[in-house]
């Protein structure tokens, strides 16, 4: 890299280096584009704040639901976190197992193709996941929810009454889990591939079985990558809109009951459902909730990237 900046030897007397106008224009444009990224990001925050201010300062009875902005946003934040946490709990172990399968279990020649299959899950548009969730997954889960209600109903999570359509918080969480599976498994796979082969071969040479090798050499090395990857997945699950908007049956209110038809909505789904029909202060309220979502995902993504990048610095030859 550094060698690219050595200027060609210039004849004596012309100064340190030749600055051609073309160079100056091109470098300026490139730098401008880079700075534009920062401006866009700042602009997203700034414009959201500007449009959210009327809702922040409005009297409580003007906000939909008559309980003020905090009362309006709180159940949404709860629903967002709940759905995302379900997704994360389901997806992370699965994703790690898939990453291990592709990295260490699948036949070498098939591994890349199988990895591509998992990546295909990421290419499917979120609205199609919504279609799939409401028409395929939800009806198939109804007997399962009835079983949960009958046999595990003493746990508050499965108190019921079980939804007859299957459009529950648990279904939404499962759809989200499928959607974040590819990103979590892609990042885990990447980190697992960076495990020095000397570590793995040393473990195998000492007679470790494949699982012992993975437990002793691969998992400790890849732990921070898995954590970072699942946080990226969390960020995606928090902001996922259409699938939740289609799948989840909403009736407001904070509840831990995962299998009934009365669920809190999520911030993103609520915006998608309400925005087209809203006007005036309602729009500002929705934008304020969007601002809350932006802040939450921004923080989650920042922490996740910090974790993943720390691993990147550490990997390689050192």
């Amino acid at each position: 890299m550094s060698s690219t900046r050595t200027t060609p030897p210039s004849p004596p007397g012309t100064g340190r280096s030749v600055r051609r106008p073309g160079d100056r224009v091109f470098a300026g444009t490139a730098k401008g584009a880079g700075i534009l990224i920062l401006v866009i990001l700042a602009g997203v925050a700034a414009f959201l704040v500007v449009e959210a201010v009327p809702a922040l300062t409005a009297p409580a009875e003007d906000i939909p639901g008559d309980r003020g902005l905090a009362g309006y946003v709180a159940p949404l934040v709860f629903g967002t976190l709940l759905a995302a946490v379900i997704a994360l709990l389901v997806a992370t172990p699965l994703a790690v197992a898939i990453a291990l399968f592709i990295g260490y279990y699948a036949p070498r020649r098939l591994a890349q193709g199988l990895g591509y299959l998992v990546d295909l899950l990421a290419a499917i548009p979120s609205i199609v996941y919504g279609f799939w969730g409401i028409f395929w997954l939800a009806p198939k889960l109804v007997p399962f929810y009835e079983w949960l209600e009958d046999d595990l109903g003493f746990i508050p999570l499965f108190a019921g009454p079980a939804s007859t359509t299957g459009r529950t918080m648990l279904t939404a969480g499962l759809v989200l889990a499928v959607m974040i599976l590819p990103i979590v498994s892609a990042i885990s796979r990447e980190v697992f591939l960076q495990v020095p082969s000397l570590h793995r071969e040393a473990a195998l040479a000492l007679g470790a079985t494949r699982w012992e090798m993975i437990r002793m050499a691969v998992l400790p090395y890849g732990r921070s990558g898995v954590i970072g990857g699942s946080m990226l997945g969390l960020g995606r699950a928090l902001g996922e809109t259409m699938a939740v908007a289609i799948v989840l049956s909403v009736s407001g209110g904070i509840t831990l009951n995962l299998i009934s038809s009365g669920n809190p909505s999520t911030i993103a789904a609520n915006i998608a459902l309400e925005f087209p029909e809203s006007s005036g202060i309602d729009i500002n309220t929705l934008i304020a909730s969007g601002l809350a979502l932006f802040v939450i995902t921004f923080v989650v993504n920042m922490v996740a990237r910090a974790i993943v990048n720390r691993r990147a610095d550490f990997s390689g030859a050192n």
Binding site: S3, T4, P8, D23, V25, F26, A27, A30, A33, G34, I37, L41, G43, V44, F47, E51, L94, A97, I98, Y105, V118, L120, L121, A123, I124, P125, S126, I127, V128, G130, F131, W132, F135, W136, V178, S185, P196, A202, L206, T209, R210, E212, M213, G239, T241, M242, I271, A272, F275, P276, G280, I287, F294, T297, F298, V300, N301, M302, A304, R305
Partner: protein, 362 residues
């Protein structure tokens, strides 16, 4: 390095070696695990009428029973270490199988339901004057093409120049800040990008505004970071010798970039841009709040509402009208066309990277 590598060695040699499990010397035949699963399938199949099973439960019980059989058999013959190893192998393979269920069922569901209306009328007519049967998505497909083209037009130059800046010019704190924020920007929820575009235009043009260009700007917020990341990866792969050779001939830096660096990496750039397009073409949420929906064909992104394929699918499904079946069919066909579009772009991306790759592989 040495510190790290000794740790697993130490535990690896002491812990399992000390256990009694290694004393067992028997070995199972290679086909034994398969036989376990076949046996489990037979057992569950026999019990099928008793428990009123369906196909999903059949597979589930077979896998559970087979895994259990493999574990116990291996434990009896080869010892607990091998048994744990086999158990994990079974779990990992079934996890992968489980992940394939959504993919297969989703594709099957969309294809079987969407194929009904995949006809000429769907691509030829809009929804003007359509109540019930017939009608199509011409206006929505054209709208998606217009918006996607506009988004690409905005995002690719900005993304490409930023990547060039990051790889060729930037250093120090600005570089680190931009790299980090581009990463974070990849995680912006799509609905927030839509709200941003709405807020931007609402401040200048008044509330309640719906324009095609707003959607393009919202999608650009989502697309730019993807373009930057992929272009950056590709530009980094261009060998430094090429740049140095060009400098040695007295070529200015900007011409080196335009004539040497970019052409060398053109295949990777094409792949990255295509994948970025594939990512935004299916975005629904930002378009839902910036473009709205219309039944008529509107191809002018600076004049009022436009229909796009994802939003069209959404509204056909959620507001189907009185006999809901026709609109629902249209929704599924729209979803199918969307998937074909995205998968097609993915395939094109692969082809680009295969056929336009630099001739001399290093």
């Amino acid at each position: 390095m040495s510190q790290i590598s000794t740790a697993p060695v130490a535990t690896g040699s002491s812990a399992p070696g000390g256990s009694r499990g290694t004393r067992r010397t028997g070995r199972l035949a290679r086909w034994a695990p398969w036989a376990c699963f076949a046996g489990a399938a037979v057992v569950v199949g026999v019990l099928w009428p008793l428990f009123d099973l369906n196909i999903a439960l059949f597979v589930l019980y077979t896998v559970v029973l087979g895994t259990l059989a493999v574990y116990l058999l291996t434990r009896a013959v080869e010892g607990s270490r091998q048994a744990t190893n086999r158990l994990v192998t079974c779990l990992v393979v079934s996890a992968f199988g489980l992940a394939m269920v959504p993919l297969v069922s989703l594709v099957w569901e969309v294809v079987s339901r969407g194929a009904a209306r995949l006809d000429g009328e769907f691509f030829n007519s809009s929804l003007v004057g359509i109540v019930g049967e017939g009608g199509g998505a011409y206006h929505a497909i054209m709208g998606t093409l217009v918006i996607t083209a506009l988004t690409t037009l905005i995002s690719v130059p900005i993304g490409l120049m930023t990547a060039i800046f990051l790889v060729e010019y930037a250093r120090g704190r600005l570089k680190r800040a931009i790299t980090f924020l581009v990463d974070v920007m990849t995680g912006i929820p799509s609905i927030v990008a839509g709200l941003f575009a709405y807020a931007l235009f609402a401040i200048f043009l008044g509330p309640g505004i719906r324009l095609g260009i707003m959607g393009a700007i919202a999608l650009s917020v989502l697309m730019i970071p993807v373009v930057v990341r992929s272009a950056e990866e590709v530009l980094k792969l261009v060998p430094n010798e090429l740049r140095e050779a060009s400098y040695a001939l007295g070529v200015p830096k900007w011409r080196t970039i335009v004539k040497v660096v970019v052409p060398t990496s053109i295949a990777g750039l094409g792949t990255g841009v295509t994948l970025a397009i594939a990512r935004v073409v299916g975005e629904t949420a930002p378009l839902l709040i910036t473009l709205g929906i219309t039944n008529a064909t509107n191809l002018d992104p600076f004049d009022g509402r436009m229909a796009t394929l994802p939003v069209y699918a959404y509204y056909q499904l959620t507001q189907p009208g009185v006999p809901p079946q026709f609109a629902t069919d249209r929704a599924w066909t729209a979803a199918l066309v969307l998937i074909i579009l995205v998968m097609g772009l993915n395939v094109v991306a692969r082809l680009i990277s295969r056929f336009f790759a630099p001739k001399s592989g290093r």
